[in-house]
């Protein structure tokens, strides 16, 4: 058995469960941070959904004036930005936080306080981004913020600044978290958990961290350049001063395309966990799944200009980016066939998570096919900036990411909260969501090909788009209703007794071996792994299901102390960007004070008593 120092008996008392607001602010427990990520992201998801519903109401009738064009611009910008950066990414982060340490058999992430820091920076960045609404200056230039729409000349207000600074704050959170999870996965695996034995969710998460590490610095620089254009008089993206607006598009999509895989790869991982569990079969083609994920990520850095075919890059660039884009269909196809291969001849159990996972495959195929359609430049010239594109990316992001994340929510809910979500309501949720989703987005293919432009607040009746738009609006309301059902399910479940078994789905991965919800220290003894699907292997040896684990006391297990310095440092980071934004009014003082706060928080963190980061223990001591 694993005889690591953590298991050495010491005079630690049993860990009492900590409660209260302060315990959440100072927590460094990856499970609690995961729940914080989940709750915050779900709130922003509902907010982004509400923005979408207002957009759909505006488009329900031709020549409608339910909202002004200015408000419409703010809503579609904030809907996109919110769903990408404040909903799907942090919902994935919730699963990274909660599951990676459990699935690799670790007690926590490599840097628990850095993890808390990431969350607080993310929260403040999300609030920053949305603060524009309070001042009537929400971002209004699209989630891609194309130059020179974002220049002082065309956007004199603070709208662009809320977007720019908000995203920079969020970038800090993402990068800190990516370093943390990368190191956690490389370095914190339980004995025997080799890379090629890791659960597929961990593998896809790992690839996602690499993408984050390599793609986010690019958008960070682009946002900094934009900030200099707006505040310090440079002309990087302004042609009048010799700058190049197209450069923004290149920078943005060098980040933006890997970002697409940052959104979808964790979802691939979730589905690769759910499908084997409910097919009662190991994942089909494990190695092919790993390498197709790596291949997708690699190609993801070589396809960015397929977002820019209409800018006239010339035949050579068009050909290259068209071919590299088409290549991505190969590893993606490998994945889809492997999921189907996993289900093939399995003893399928149609529980709620399985519904969403199968729904994911079907919807994602549709989105993938339309994606291959506009990898062809001549086709793309027709489809670019129309609702066809809107249909495409909602099929991959909603039909893909959100379906998979919802599958994950139903699948891991009992592990996280010790209560099983209601199956009946879950299935109502699924059917309403599937119906609402397809009613909303399928007709967009047709109106798009017929020429209805994106990002336009209304359309005239004579164009004949009315009926399909009305269907879309009805669909979107059904979609909203489906999440109302989910909320009711969550509420009703929260009033039920905490009686979920440790292993409700007969799972294959390590998190199902420990009680639901897991104790703060995760594993009473660190597991030793000798193959893939370690829990199935153990059950096979045991000749059936394992007995319900006995709750331990955690005595003798060292856990990192709670700390509020990560939160203080996070405030310093957010304050820095507020300071830059207000610098025309406040002068340099906002920046100076926030940098001082940042350093104060950082040094207090680094030299915090009771933490060992400063000391390298000698290994001979035990």
């Amino acid at each position: 058995m694993a005889t690591t120092a953590l298991d050495q008996p010491h005079a630690h008392a049993a860990h009492a469960e900590k409660t209260g607001l302060w315990s959440w602010i100072t927590t460094v427990d990856h499970k609690r941070i995961g729940i914080l990520y989940g709750a915050t992201a779900f709130f922003f998801f509902l907010l982004g959904g509400l923005e979408a519903l207002i957009i759909r109401i505006q488009l329900a009738r031709p020549d409608n004036n339910f909202i002004s064009p200015e408000t419409y611009n703010q809503l579609f910008t904030m809907h996109g930005t919110t769903m990408i950066f404040l909903a799907i990414m942090p919902l994935s982060s919730m699963l990274f936080n909660y599951l990676i340490p459990l699935q690799i058999g670790a007690r926590d992430v490599a840097f628990p306080r850095l993890n808390a820091f990431s969350y607080w920076v993310f929260l403040l960045g999300g609030l920053f981004l949305n603060a524009g609404f309070l001042f009537g200056a929400a971002p209004d230039t699209g989630w891609y913020g194309y130059a020179n729409l974002t220049s002082r000349q065309f956007s004199p207000g603070h709208n662009v600044d809320f977007w720019n600074m908000g995203l920079q704050v969020l970038g800090v959170a993402s990068l800190a978290a990516a370093v943390n999870f990368f190191v956690t996965i490389v370095n914190m695996r339980a004995p025997g958990m080799t890379m090629m034995r890791m659960p597929m969710f961990v593998w896809m998460s790992f690839i996602t961290q690499v993408l984050l590490l390599l793609a986010f610095p690019v958008i960070a620089v682009a946002l900094i350049l934009l900030m200099f254009d707006r505040f310090f008089g440079t002309h990087y993206f302004i042609p009048a001063g010799g700058g190049d607006p197209l450069l923004w598009q290149h920078f943005f999509w060098v980040f933006g395309h890997p970002e697409v895989y940052i959104l979808i790869l964790p979802a691939f991982g979730v589905v690769s966990e759910v499908l084997p569990a409910f097919s009662r079969k190991p994942l089909f083609g494990y190695a092919a799944m790993v390498f197709s994920g790596v291949f997708i990520a690699f190609l993801g850095f070589g396809v960015w200009s397929h977002h820019m075919f209409t800018t006239g890059m010339g035949p050579i660039a068009d050909t290259f980016f068209s071919l590299s884009t088409m290549l991505i269909a190969i590893p993606t196809g490998v994945k889809i066939f492997n999921w189907l291969g996993t289900m093939w001849f399995g003893s399928l159990q149609f529980r709620t998570p399985m519904y969403f996972a199968v729904g994911f495959i079907a919807m994602f195929i549709i989105g993938g096919l339309s994606g291959v359609m506009h990898s062809s430049p001549p086709a793309d010239l027709q489809q670019n900036d129309t609702y066809f594109i809107v249909a495409h990316f909602h099929y991959v992001l909603f039909g893909g990411s959100i379906f998979a994340l919802t599958a994950g929510a139903y699948y891991w809910w009992p592990k996280m909260f010790g209560r099983m979500l209601d199956e009946g309501l879950g299935k109502v949720h699924f059917w309403l969501m599937l119906l609402g989703f397809n009613l909303t987005f399928f007709p967009m293919h047709f109106v798009g090909l017929n020429g209805m432009p994106r990002r336009t607040y209304t359309y005239p009746a004579e164009l004949g788009f009315t009926l399909l738009n009305q269907i879309e609006t009805v669909g979107s309301l059904l979609l909203g209703l489906s999440f109302l059902v989910f909320l009711i399910n969550i509420f009703r479940t929260s009033r039920k007794p905490r009686n979920a078994p440790a292993d409700p789905w007969n799972g294959a991965t390590l998190e199902w071996a420990i009680p639901s919800p897991p104790p703060e220290w995760n594993f009473d003894r660190l597991p030793v792994v000798d193959g893939r699907d370690p829990l199935w292997e153990e059950k096979r040896k045991n000749g059936g299901r394992l007995p319900e684990p006995v709750a331990g006391t955690g005595a003798g297990i060292h856990l990192p102390n709670p700390s509020y310095w990560p939160a203080v440092t996070a405030v310093g980071v957010a304050a820095l960007f507020v300071g830059i934004m207000m610098s025309p009014k406040w002068g340099p003082w906002g920046i100076v004070v926030s940098v001082a706060l940042l350093f104060f928080g950082l040094y207090s963190w680094l030299f915090e008593k009771g933490y060992s980061e400063f000391r390298t223990p000698s290994h001979g001591g035990h």
Binding site: T4, V179, V186, M193, P617
Partner: protein, 207 residues
């Protein structure tokens, strides 16, 4: 008691903090790659002078002005920065062997080089602004200041980090079993040097 969190053997045998610095450096490569691309894309796109390598005519006075870059001073700064990479290796060796004199001496030498470099850059920037090159003047000013400025910020952070290490060493807290703390700072310092090895020719030497 607090030691035990890190007494855990890691999967790779490499300390997690060291791996984190390497990971961070990997990410930083993309940061500087983007800034360098930004410089190269805007090279030669300036509508007015001052230019880096060519003489230019001041539109206000009609005077022909010299190219703005002065290579000798920057070469000295570059040389010192490169030598500082050697110095910090020696300082780290001192820390690992418990040789306090060696640690403090070479760390001080490293700090001197770092501070000289930052000072050199402050002088250069003020000098350029004096000669009319600002962020808003032309594309060369914009892309020069942001590239070398962000590098300078990195050097400054490195200096603050190494100063912290110096204070710890003075207090006798940088013992051999804690030398990893200096090693992490050293890794970052080497990275900042290596980036300058790319920036120096791109900005100052290639015409």
């Amino acid at each position: 008691m607090t030691d035990h969190a890190h007494a855990l053997e890691t999967s790779t045998g490499l300390d997690s903090r060291k791996l984190a610095i390497w990971t961070f450096i990997g990410s930083e490569c993309m940061f500087f790659a983007t800034l360098i691309s930004n410089y190269l894309v805007h090279k030669g796109k300036s509508l007015v002078g001052p230019f880096a390598h060519e003489a230019w005519t001041d539109p206000a006075t009609g005077q022909v002005m010299e190219p703005i870059i002065e290579i000798p001073l920057v070469t000295v700064g570059t040389a010192l920065l490169l030598f500082s990479s050697l110095f910090i290796v020696l300082a780290l060796y001192g820390a690992q062997k418990g040789n306090r004199k060696m640690l403090l001496g070479w760390l001080a030498a490293t700090l001197f080089c770092g501070m000289f470099f930052v000072g050199m850059q402050v002088y250069e920037f003020t000098h350029f602004v004096h000669k009319g090159l600002t962020l808003s003047r032309n594309m060369f000013g914009a892309s020069f200041f942001i590239l070398t400025g962000f590098h300078g910020t990195h050097v400054t952070i490195g200096v603050i980090w190494l100063l912290t290490m110096f204070v710890l060493a003075l207090k006798g807290k940088l013992t051999p079993n804690r030398s990893l703390n200096l090693e992490m700072a050293a890794l970052y310092w080497h990275f900042v040097d290596v980036v300058w090895v790319v920036i120096f020719p791109v900005v100052y030497l290639i015409r």
